[in-house]
Symmetry: C2
Subunit: 472 residues, 2 copies
């Protein structure tokens, strides 16, 4: 079912034995310096385990590393080349790379197809060399690869400018480099773990379909997220996506949806955005989940990374704030889900144990004077209830009698032992944020609004239905 050649072809991008940095320099802030520093720092931390070979005809040494004057001089274990030299010099360098037998190349350099005919001609020349020699190319005009587990980091924005996220089971693939960088920075703050990021820019060779195929076989990755402006080989994309979505969920954010956006996309990456209805149809047919914006994309990714898949679409809501329960109920309707009709056993169980001013039903409102025990009782009942497929748990940690750590322990415990997905909504500020982060570290996805929590559940429900073969 899967193409296992791709696994071997793309492996050096993520786990190189030795990386050549062509255009490495000691001038701080320059692309060739930041990339070198990234590898060096990760090597010193013991994360990057390969060798690092700077290439620059004018230097003999950078920071204690021997500099090679030419690609031809590189040691034989070099299996990845990262190119950060001016565009006109790239085709010649590609020839040397081919002679040397290096099979994986990331071309960071911009100034190719996006600038016009001469750039396109150079891209064609590079591609011909690559095809003739079995070389796979990421780029040009890209930020390349970020793989925190193996220490590969060609993101040429220094750490002073941009944080790096921790590792996790999400793969993130972005056509736009600046967007990729902003998202990595954002993910670091949001506590979202990115196992592998690839930004392919002009994608003359390695494309979305190749990366889907690779990540489908990558045990570290549970869910893939794509930011796409345009797809070149539609048939390959569809054929691959159809197979891969049965194995792992794929979420796509496709911009250029409107006439205005399509025109802007064409100026940006030269992508023909195409009619949006066609993309919509393609995503539906192939089981790709379409995200409305980047918050939606990562909201979904977080749910897939952390949750079990629900058996149906009947949502149970537990809250300690009535207003938030109303908003969540609205969202259940808006996103095409059902509010579960609680079983008589659940109603009876809770009514016997709750004070009269708590509201037993769906939503169940444990109300503002709740303690952690009421949450435990509600979770216990909802998990046992055969009419509930998934649980949205709203915790306003601000309420005075709630022991935050106790309720976090309870939620973690039930999420582990239950087969049903549980997502938490926590609205608040710095103090509640701390508790939200604690929950996330224990594997529970947390959302800042009821709408976003329900929308994430809707993604799980839809994908679960697709995988079970009940269609879109």
């Amino acid at each position: 079912m899967v193409n296992s050649d791709i696994r071997e072809q793309l492996r050096p991008f993520f786990e190189p034995r030795a990386v050549a940095i062509i255009g490495a320099t000691n001038k701080k802030g320059k692309v060739g310096n930041v990339i070198f520093e990234n590898f060096k720092r990760n090597k010193e931390k013991g994360i990057f385990k390969g060798n690092i070979y700077p290439v620059n005809p004018k230097l003999d040494e950078i920071d204690g590393y021997k500099v090679y004057h030419d690609v031809s001089e590189l040691p034989d274990d070099t299996d990845l080349a990262v190119i950060a030299i001016p565009a006109p010099a790239v085709p010649e360098t590609m020839k040397k790379i081919a002679e040397k037998g290096i099979k994986a190349v990331i071309i960071i350099t911009g100034g190719f197809g996006e600038l016009g005919e001469e750039g396109k001609r150079m891209e064609q020349e590079i591609l011909e060399i690559a095809r003739a020699n079995g070389i796979r190319v990421i780029g040009p005009n890209c930020v390349g690869v970020y793989a925190p587990d193996t220490g590969v980091d060609t993101v040429f924005l220094p750490e002073e400018k941009m944080d790096r996220p921790k590792s996790g089971p999400i793969a993130f693939i972005s056509q736009s480099g600046a967007f990729a960088a902003a998202m990595l920075d954002w993910a670091a703050m949001a506590g979202i773990g990115i196992g592998k990021m690839v930004s392919y820019g002009n994608k003359i060779d390695v494309d979305d379909a190749d990366l889907m195929e690779y990540f489908a076989q990558d045990d570290e990755i549970k869910v893939m997220t794509f930011y796409i402006e345009g797809v070149k080989d539609g048939r390959k994309f569809m054929e691959t996506a159809k197979r891969v979505t049965k194995i792992k969920p794929i979420i796509a954010l496709k911009s250029g949806r409107t006439e205005y956006g399509a025109k802007a996309a064409s100026s940006h990456t030269g992508s023909l955005a195409g009619q949006d209805v066609i993309y919509d149809a393609v995503f539906k047919q192939t089981g790709i989940i379409r995200a409305e914006d980047f918050e939606h994309m990562f909201d979904l990714a977080k749910a897939f990374a952390k949750c079990k898949l629900p058996k149906g679409d009947r949502i149970g809501i537990i809250t300690d704030g009535g207003g938030a329960g109303v908003m969540a109920s609205d969202a259940v309707a808006k996103f095409g889900l059902k509010l579960a009709e609680l079983s008589e056993e659940t109603i009876k169980f809770l009514k016997e144990r709750f004070p009269p001013h708590a509201v037993v039903g769906n939503p169940t409102d444990v109300v503002g004077d709740t303690d952690a025990e009421r949450y435990r009782l509600a979770l216990e009942a909802f998990i046992k209830d055969p009419n509930v497929d998934a649980i949205l748990l709203i915790v306003l940690f601000q309420v005075p009698l709630l022991d935050e750590k106790e309720v976090i322990d309870i939620i973690t415990d039930y999420a582990k032992k239950s087969d049903k997905p549980i997502v938490v909504v926590s609205m608040g500020g710095y103090k509640t944020d701390k508790y939200a982060k604690m929950l996330e570290e224990r594997g529970i996805p947390v959302y800042p609004t009821p709408e976003r929590g329900v929308r994430a559940l809707a993604g799980l429900v839809r994908y679960a239905k697709y995988v079970r073969g009940n269609g879109e």
Copy 2:
């Protein structure tokens, strides 16, 4: 045009000469203690300038404050009573308050109409006493008032549980108490200034229309935000809103939109949510801007608080990331705005000054190697261009050559001297967040996604059109 009686009637809620806290106690964490502590802390800080009179028959002193045993003993300057004693004792206390001549009462206590017939009867009794004696009542079953400039704070969640936002030109009115508390906490983190918050709970007396009327005349308030589950006196609401929206923008988040949500709202505040289409029509007729969720509500409020109103709907986009520009262009179409067609002068001006790889157009992409000067040039041109009504400025601060402080100075400078609204989009993490906060402190609204920035501009455009009398 406005009812100025209401100004005098409601003034003691926000600027009391002396507050009686009925049910004040020294038991930490209890409602009557937290409220007392709030006033005491604000008095010590010099923010609350009135007198504080704790009332409790069983105590003689709390923290050095003399405790009054009965309402009848209170000094004559008492003009606000905050009630935090069990529900059954409230009607009797109201009689004493009437005798004492106090004209403003906040009833924090719950256990009234929301619990059934006996509670409704008590509410009726309280209301009759109030009406007969010219007393205005906020509550019962509410968190009351938060007014940071004058130090009124009846929010009974202690500071350890919940942060308080700084002051600012936004009034926030919430039917739900827990939601109000969560939002204050959130606003504190988001850096959103709330000048006055009122959470009225069961609203037996002071209602949305009264508060609209009051805030219309309050010079500290520029924009009002309402979280509403249901409106009781529809005619009064409409008549007031119609007048007030011509003076200041009103943004409403109305939940219970769907059948599921309406049912949940009825269990929560006993509100008859009513058919959502009716609310939609009412909001449109009265010029109230409807928010989709709380992020939308405060995104809009921030724009109104900080921006000038645009003269039309033609948006100019400046970006240093092409992908983000595409997303913003899509959002312009999605939210019913127009992408401005730049004048020939603008195109010429920028083409002469920009490097060839920058994209002059709408969006104008200053690209990833931008410095602050390119932003200055683009702003200069867009502000002069008669075809541009409002500007969306996307700044990915991560790009390597951009001096963050310099670009912040430039944006602040142009926002001040221009008549056009300028909103900024900054995507990123902790580092860029710091720059976003700097911009906000200087009066520029900043949004975390292109969609949310454009959506905020759409709110400004729509309200500007309404005020000019060109209808909805």
